[in-house]
C-alpha cells in the first residue's frame, strides 16, 4: 500500500512501489489529465508538480514520491493565471500535451516570475508539442507572468 498526497487529498493505493507514478495516477487513481506519451522522460507531457517542482511522472517510481505533495492540472484553481492565459491566448490545438506543459510553466514562473524570451525558450525547450502551439504558449507564458505580477502587487 502506497500513500500519496494529491491536490491536497490523501490517497492510498495498492500498487507495486516500483510502478511509475504516471500509471498510478492514470490507472489506479483515474487522474487521466496526466498523459502517457513517450515513457522515457523525453517529451515532458506527463509532467506533474511534486512539491511545486516539475517532474516527469513516467520516470519516477511511486515509492520515490514519499509524502511530497503532487499537483496535477486539476489541482490548480480554474482562475490560475496559467489557465486564464492559456484560454485567453487560445493555446491548445489537440491539447493533449498542454496539462504537462502548463504545469512545467507553473514551476518555471515560480522560479522566474518575469522571464525574458530567451529564458522562456530555455525553460520550455525540452518539451514536445506536435501540433505546433509554441508561439501561443510563449504568449500565454508572458501573459501568465503579467497576471501573476499584478496579483502579487
Amino acid at each position: 500500500m502506497v500513500t500519496l498526497q494529491i491536490n491536497g487529498i490523501k490517497k492510498e493505493v495498492d500498487v507495486d512501489s516500483e510502478t511509475p507514478l504516471l500509471w498510478v495516477l492514470r490507472d489506479n487513481l483515474g487522474i487521466t489529465s496526466v498523459k502517457y506519451t513517450c515513457g522515457i522522460a523525453e517529451c515532458g507531457i506527463c509532467t506533474v508538480l511534486i512539491d511545486g517542482k516539475a517532474v516527469r511522472s513516467c520516470s519516477i517510481p511511486v515509492k520515490d514520491v514519499g509524502a511530497s505533495e503532487i499537483t496535477t492540472i486539476e489541482g490548480l484553481p480554474d482562475n490560475h493565471p496559467v489557465k486564464v492565459a492559456w484560454i485567453a491566448k487560445q493555446v491548445p490545438q489537440c491539447g493533449y500535451c498542454q496539462p504537462g506543459i502548463m504545469l512545467q510553466t507553473v514551476d518555471f514562473l515560480s522560479r522566474q516570475p518575469n522571464p525574458s524570451d530567451e529564458q522562456i525558450n530555455e525553460a520550455m525547450d525540452d518539451l514536445i508539442c506536435r501540433c505546433g502551439s509554441h508561439p501561443r504558449m510563449k504568449k500565454a507564458i508572458r501573459m501568465a507572468a503579467e497576471i501573476s505580477s499584478k496579483q502579487g502587487g
Binding site: T19, G30, G39, K83, P92, Q93, C94, R130, G132, P135
Partner: protein, 712 residues
C-alpha cells in the same frame, strides 16, 4: 479574457458529451438510430442540429476533434445561417452514422482538410432551413406574413418590436416541413463567419477535463498491449504465456494473427506482461533492409521506366529546342506521424452489438471493419469518436480497432488497446520516402518550355483507395507535380511504383507534403539558371489575376521581398495550391560560419476563399510552419535489419521552442467557397527555407532533412 469562462458556466451542465466523469452513461443516451428523431426537443430539423426550449442550440458533428478547430468552425457556419445567438451554441460529437458521411467521399472520415470545404453548402443549408422554419413558425403564431418577420440572434422579431425566441418557437417550428433549398446569406451579411471566436473545446482542454481516447474507461474494462513483429515478415515462434500470467494484474494472454495480446487490469501490468512473454520471433523477410539498401533501391528504381501519369504537349521536341537544360535530383525520407497521443481503441463486443470508443479519423472504416470481424450488421456497431491527441492521417487506420475487437471477443468484456510509443514508431504507416529526378528546358527568354519529372515511391492508395490507381499511377504519389500551380506547355510526369514491406499511409498534406519540396526547390533552381528573381520567375509562369498569382504578389509585398535585409540574412519563397486553397511562405534566415541555420521569421499567406474561422486558420498556419520546419531540419524514420529502428522521440527529433521563429500569417479571401486549411499550410515551408539557404550561401540542399554539413 474571461468571456470563455462565462460561456463555460452557461454550458456547464451540457458541455461536451464526453466531458466529466459520467462518461459511460452520457454516451449511452446517443445511439445511431435516434439521430433523426427528437431527443430532448421537438425541433431537430437535421441530424446536425437541434434547438431546445431552453434556447440551447446543439450542433452535432461527425468530424474528429483533432484540435484543428472544426468543432467550432462547423457550428459557426450553421449558427451564421441560423442567425443564432453564438453564446447559446454548443457542440457535441455524434456517433458514426449515415448523415455524417462526407457528401463527396461517401464515407465518414476526417482528413484531406474536408471538414468544412466538403460541407460548405450542406452546413449553410442546415442553418438556413432551420431559420426559415423558425421564422415561418413565428409568422404563423402572429398571423402575419413571413416577409414581415426578421430573424436575429436567436429571436424572430415582429415589426411591432416584440419577439419570440427560438426556444419558444421549437414546438411549432418542429411541425413544419424542412425546406430543401432555403435562401442563403450574402457574405457581406455575415456576423459569425469570419469573426473572432474562442474555440469551444479549449476550456475543457485547459482544465484537464477532456477525455481523449486513451483516457476512456468503462465498467469491467481491461487494458491490453499487443506484441507485434519487430521486423517485417517475422512471426512469433515461441513465447512464455505463463510468465506473463504470473505478473500481478495480468488477466489473459491471447494469440492473435501474427501477434500476441496481453490483457490486464492496468496498462502498466499489461506492459510488464508483454515484457515477460519473452517472444522468439522468426527471421525478418527482408533482413538486408536498412537506410543504405533502401537508398540504393530507390536510386535503382529511378532508372526504371515509369508509368506515365501525365504527358502534355511534346516534351522531346521542346527539350531539343530549349536554349538551356537543367536537371536535378531530390530525396525525401520516410516520416512518422509522431502524434502525441499513442494509438488506442476501446471495444466491447456483445452478442447483439459492438461498441467502439476511439480517437479515430475513419469512422466508416472502423464501423465496417468491426462489423466484419464480429459478424454483426453494420447498424449494430456503434462508433463513438473521442477527441484525439493529434492524428495527421494515421488515425484512419483500423489496426487498433482490429486488436481491440478481437481481444474483446475473446475475453467477453470491454478491452482498451494501447500502443506504447515504441509500438507507435515501429508500426506507424509512414509517409513514403520519395526520390525524384527533374529536368527542365528554358527558352532564351527564361521561360520553362519543357518539364520532365520522374519520381519513385511506394503507393499509399494501392492499399487504401485502389480504385483510384489506374495504369500504375497513384494520383496521390504524383500530386503537386501533375497539378502544380504553374502552367507548363510541355510536361511529362512518370511514376515508378515501389513495392516494399514498409507500411505507408497518409500523412498531413499527403503527396503535396513531399512533391512541393521538389517542385518549388527546382523552380528556384530554374529561376537562378534564368538569372531571374524567384518571385518574378514564378509569376511569369502563372496566369495573371489567378489565385496563386495574387497570393504570391501579396505575400512578396507583405514580406518585403524587395526590401534590403540585415547583413547575413536571406529570403526564400515557395508556393502551392491544394485542398481548394493556396498557400505560400517566405522564409527569412541566416547561416552561421559553422553552417548553423537560424530561421528568424516565416511569413505565411493563405487564400482559402472564405475564411470561416480566422483564428483557427492562424493557428493552423503557425502549426504548419512548425511542422514544416521540423520536417525540413530533423524528421526521418530509420530502418535496420529488416525493421524500423527509430523507437522513440529521442531518435525522432521535433522542432523545439527555441527554434520557433516569429511567424506572420496573412489571410486572403477571394470570396470563393471555403477551402481547406490544415494541409495547405505545410508543403511550401521546407522549400522556402531551402531556397533561402541557397540565397544565403549558394548551396542547394536537395535532400530532407537538411544536411547542414554541406554548408561548412
Amino acid at each position: 479574457m474571461y468571456a470563455s469562462m462565462t460561456r463555460r458556466t452557461f454550458l456547464a451542465k451540457s458541455s461536451l458529451v464526453i466531458a466529466g466523469t459520467v462518461l459511460s452513461s452520457r454516451i449511452e443516451i446517443f445511439n445511431a438510430t435516434s439521430l433523426q428523431a427528437a431527443v430532448n426537443t421537438p425541433f431537430k430539423p437535421h441530424a446536425f442540429l437541434e434547438i431546445g426550449a431552453d434556447e440551447t442550440i446543439t450542433v452535432w458533428v461527425g468530424q474528429t476533434n483533432l484540435g484543428q478547430g472544426s468543432h467550432t468552425g462547423i457550428p459557426m457556419v450553421i449558427a451564421e445561417e441560423l442567425d443564432a445567438a453564438w453564446e447559446t451554441v454548443q457542440v457535441k460529437m455524434a456517433l458514426a452514422a449515415e448523415p455524417f458521411k462526407d457528401p463527396v467521399w461517401h464515407t465518414q472520415a476526417t482528413g484531406g482538410s474536408t471538414s468544412i470545404r466538403h460541407r460548405w453548402d450542406m452546413l449553410r443549408k442546415v442553418g438556413a432551413a432551420a431559420r426559415q422554419m423558425l421564422v415561418e413558425a413565428a409568422a404563423e403564431q402572429w398571423q402575419i406574413p413571413v416577409q414581415q418577420c426578421v430573424a436575429k440572434e436567436g429571436k424572430v422579431l415582429h415589426p411591432d418590436g416584440s419577439s419570440l425566441s427560438y426556444g419558444q418557437l421549437t414546438e411549432v417550428a418542429g411541425k413544419r416541413p424542412v425546406p430543401e433549398n432555403p435562401p442563403l446569406k450574402a457574405p457581406q451579411d455575415y456576423t459569425i463567419i469570419g469573426t473572432p471566436r474562442e474555440r469551444l473545446d479549449i476550456p475543457d482542454k485547459v482544465m484537464g477535463h477532456t477525455v481523449y481516447g486513451i483516457d476512456f474507461s468503462i465498467d469491467n474494462m481491461c487494458v491490453a498491449v499487443v506484441a507485434r513483429p519487430p521486423y517485417y515478415g517475422a512471426t512469433p515462434e515461441s513465447h512464455d504465456a505463463e510468465a506473463a500470467m504470473a505478473i500481478k494484474g495480468v488477466i489473459e494472454v491471447v494469440d492473435l494473427e501474427n501477434s500476441i495480446g496481453v490483457c490486464a487490469e492496468t496498462t502498466y501490468a499489461a506492459m510488464q506482461g508483454r515484457e515477460a512473454l519473452n517472444i522468439t520471433w522468426s527471421k525478418a523477410s527482408h533482413p538486408d533492409l536498412n537506410d543504405e539498401t533502401l537508398d540504393a533501391l530507390y536510386q535503382e528504381h529511378l532508372t526504371r521506366p515509369g508509368a506515365v501519369a501525365q504527358n502534355e504537349g511534346d516534351v522531346e521536341t521542346a527539350f531539343a529546342a530549349a536554349g538551356q537544360t537543367v536537371e536535378q535530383s531530390y530525396k525525401l525520407p520516410y516520416l512518422s506521424h509522431a502524434q502525441v497521443e499513442p494509438i488506442n481503441c476501446t471495444a466491447h463486443v456483445e452478442k447483439e452489438r459492438c461498441r467502439i470508443w476511439a480517437p479515430t479519423q475513419g469512422q466508416t472504416v472502423f464501423q465496417l471493419t468491426a462489423a466484419k470481424l464480429t459478424g454483426l450488421p453494420v447498424e449494430k456497431v456503434e462508433v463513438m469518436t473521442l477527441p484525439a491527441g493529434g492524428g495527421f492521417g494515421l488515425r484512419a487506420e483500423p489496426d487498433p480497432l482490429v486488436e481491440a475487437v478481437l481481444l474483446s471477443k475473446s475475453l467477453g468484456r470491454p478491452v482498451k488497446v494501447i500502443w506504447s510509443r515504441e509500438d507507435d514508431f515501429a508500426h506507424d504507416y509512414f509517409r513514403p520516402a520519395n526520390h525524384s529526378r527533374v529536368q527542365a528546358g528554358l527558352d532564351n527568354s527564361g521561360k520553362v518550355v519543357a518539364w520532365s519529372h520522374k519520381l519513385t515511391a511506394p503507393s499509399v492508395m494501392t492499399r487504401v483507395m485502389h480504385q483510384y490507381v489506374k495504369d500504375g499511377v497513384d494520383p496521390d504519389a504524383v500530386s503537386g507535380v501533375w497539378d502544380m500551380v504553374y502552367s507548363m506547355p510541355n510536361k511529362r510526369v512518370e511514376y515508378v511504383m515501389m513495392d516494399l514491406p514498409i507500411r505507408v499511409g497518409f500523412w498531413r498534406s499527403v503527396g503535396y507534403s513531399s512533391n512541393v519540396f521538389t517542385v518549388e526547390s527546382f523552380m528556384d533552381e530554374l529561376a537562378h539558371a534564368a538569372g531571374a528573381d524567384p518571385v518574378q520567375f514564378r509569376l511569369a509562369h502563372l496566369e495573371r489575376g489567378s489565385r496563386p498569382y495574387n497570393v504570391l504578389t501579396h505575400l512578396a509585398e507583405r514580406a518585403g521581398w524587395n526590401d534590403p535585409l540585415p547583413e547575413g540574412r536571406a529570403r526564400g519563397i515557395a508556393l502551392t495550391s491544394c485542398f481548394e486553397s493556396t498557400a505560400a511562405h517566405v522564409a527569412e534566415i541566416a547561416v552561421g560560419s559553422g553552417g548553423e541555420i537560424t530561421v528568424h521569421k516565416m511569413h505565411c499567406a493563405i487564400d482559402c476563399g472564405t475564411a470561416v474561422y480566422p483564428d483557427a486558420i492562424r493557428a493552423q498556419a503557425e502549426a504548419g510552419v512548425i511542422m514544416g520546419m521540423s520536417v525540413a531540419f530533423y524528421e526521418r524514420v530509420r530502418f535496420r535489419d529488416g525493421g524500423v529502428s527509430t523507437a522513440n522521440y529521442d531518435e525522432y527529433r521535433l522542432l523545439r521552442m527555441s527554434e520557433v521563429p516569429e511567424i506572420e500569417v496573412h489571410i486572403l479571401e477571394d470570396g470563393k467557397k471555403a477551402g481547406g486549411i490544415g494541409e495547405p499550410v505545410v508543403p511550401s515551408v521546407a522549400p522556402s527555407i531551402a531556397n533561402a539557404i541557397f540565397a544565403a550561401t549558394g548551396v542547394r540542399l536537395r535532400e530532407l532533412p537538411f544536411n547542414t554539413d554541406l554548408l561548412h
